[in-house]
Symmetry: C2
Subunit: 355 residues, 2 copies
């Protein structure tokens, strides 16, 4: 227990402390500017050298404000501008633009760290994988996979803490319109977001973290989804609830909503114990364990969203610098895309879809 507590925040994945990956950041929304830039500034193995945005002017202004060497436009990026100044790209644009930036990165020989979900559709995600495979390293930025609470949960699952896994509950909900009141935001536009909004943007946390923890893939999904508020007129899933059957008959149930009180939760129940992340996502994961008649809540120091992002960038840099295997690679992300597409199809058809 003593070692476990002392090693709680330890980076069990780190293999090098030497070297630096210089990033071009593509897509300068609040997440990139307010979370990713400071996260990389505090990281061990990364630095931001180029910002890429819609216009040279905007990119240069943000570069100056954030003490970054170069600012270039999307067009300049595609033309190979400043390509000596960076080693890798971070793609943080709306989903439907990931492919084009990854394709250019692959042509330029730059490693790609791509936000999740990896693209708007399965077909485009497949093209993204093909563009990078055997060309450049590709990682999907599932930041739960380097979150210490999740990695400790993974160790516990692996060591048999749960006994036989029985069921999983995952929830991810937020009041999107309170965070951004704009009805025209890209997350509500299927041309930019893809199949929908709440499963693509939120449900994916429950799905991917469950896959990561249990190492079992869904074989069948069923789902219900619906939209009510006028801002959600173009997307089918203002709210969604899904049922996934994993290999070995593990029952997974999830909810996601873009118009609900903030709520993130993941609970794995087995024959012998439960492992709970409550809250689970968005930089505040708290681990709760229960087995026999004992319950433990692991209260630890600050590990906010920025710190989570720092871990992702350093994991990626560690892999790129040592030419090592990446766990959440393109093929790993592609499985989520297929699951999400099947969830949407199951909701539309009103019956389970086999995977």
């Amino acid at each position: 227990m003593h070692d476990w507590i002392d090693g709680y925040d330890e980076r069990d994945w780190q293999t090098t402390e030497e070297g630096t990956v210089r990033y071009a950041l593509i897509g300068l929304g609040w997440w990139t500017v307010d979370v990713a830039i400071p996260a990389i500034e505090h990281s061990d193995l990364g630095e931001v050298s180029v910002l890429v945005s819609s216009s040279t002017e905007k990119a240069e202004r943000l570069a100056a404000e954030n003490d970054v060497e170069r600012g270039i436009s999307y067009d300049q990026y595609h033309d190979g501008a400043a390509s000596d100044a960076y080693d890798a790209v971070y793609v943080g644009t709306p989903n439907a633009f990931h492919l084009e930036y990854a394709e250019t990165a692959a042509e330029l020989g730059k490693a790609v760290l791509c936000e999740k979900p990896m693209e708007a559709t399965v077909e485009r995600a497949e093209r993204l994988v093909e563009a990078c495979e055997n060309e450049v390293p590709l990682m999907i930025a599932y930041r739960m996979q380097t979150e210490p609470a999740v990695r400790r949960a993974r160790e516990l699952v692996e060591s048999g803490f749960l006994g036989e896994p029985v069921s999983v509950y995952g929830a991810n909900g937020q009041p999107l319109l309170e965070m951004n009141p704009d009805h025209d935001q890209w997350r509500l536009d299927p041309d930019l977001s893809g199949y929908g909004t709440s499963v693509m943007d939120l449900g994916i946390y429950s799905i991917n973290t469950t896959r990561y923890l249990l190492r079992r893939e869904p074989v069948s999904v069923a789902s219900r989804m619906s939209s009510h508020h006028v801002a959600f007129a173009d997307v089918p899933d203002e709210r969604a609830s899904s049922s996934l059957l994993l290999e070995d008959d593990v029952h997974v149930i999830t909810t996601s909503s873009q118009r609900a009180h903030e709520d993130t939760h993941l609970k794995l129940t087995g024959t012998e114990g439960t492992i709970e992340l409550d809250p689970a996502f968005h930089g505040e994961a708290t681990l709760k364990l229960s087995r026999s008649a004992v319950s433990v809540e692991v209260d630890h120091g600050e590990f906010d969203a920025q710190r989570e992002v720092r871990e992702v960038f350093d994991y990626f840099a560690d892999r790129v610098l040592t030419d090592a295997e990446i766990y959440p690679d393109g093929r790993h992300g592609l499985v989520d895309m297929r699951i999400i597409e099947a969830i949407h199809r199951a909701a539309e058809e009103g019956e389970p879809v086999e995977l």
Copy 2:
């Protein structure tokens, strides 16, 4: 807040403090003997006057041990023995025997407090309602409905705490074979338990408490269920996960398992807040509230299973003594039976069933 805290355990349902209902307890399993008898002993409006069991000998022995006036056999009960000694019956037998004891009670003019689920099948539950309706008071012993945490949650829902209800998560799991290792126990025998084991015995808590709190009924259910362990060979639902769509498009997801680590949980999420019972059932309900950026956990004095049962008996007695309406009456319980039957059918057919 001050009044709310002071009134937390208050019986907002109580209308009389006068009178006594004398009970015949039918079915003397551990629940009746270890929980119900002491609960009634401590109750305000009830007393146990007759015990009814398989043989006169067993009933008389248990009566003597528990300081109860009379002990009679099932046959004697049906013949009207000792009927001057009790006003009401508590039916705590295996599900498939509820009907016959309720029928006799109705013939004898005795009020009926019947355990949930009310019978083994919808058809038998309908006969039970018909036997009692317009003859004697009938209540189904949903003890969550008189649990203070649940009643306070109900007040909050009614006052708009959640905003618009979005989704509900309900879980109820237990390690049945650790509690009772007998593979031949009635909960694993469909002739005695009915449609199955985990939804009938455990899932019903999530279903009924959600109905009680939201006052919305399911319009469609979908479900998966499976059995693995040899002891569960005759029942389809060692584990089950279900999705219920309520009126007003509230998405409900639930799990139940008879072979899992103990876990009871109910969470209601709305556009403005969440109301959580964690743990939820089996005499340890703890209320957790969240709205705006504020979270509150309501930690209260002991309110164990016996205390929960005392509330149910006194609520029932209060209604019988004042001839008042019973909320969880036969028709209310019948809805649960229809939901459970539909859940089993949906799992069998592999597609949603409309209600």
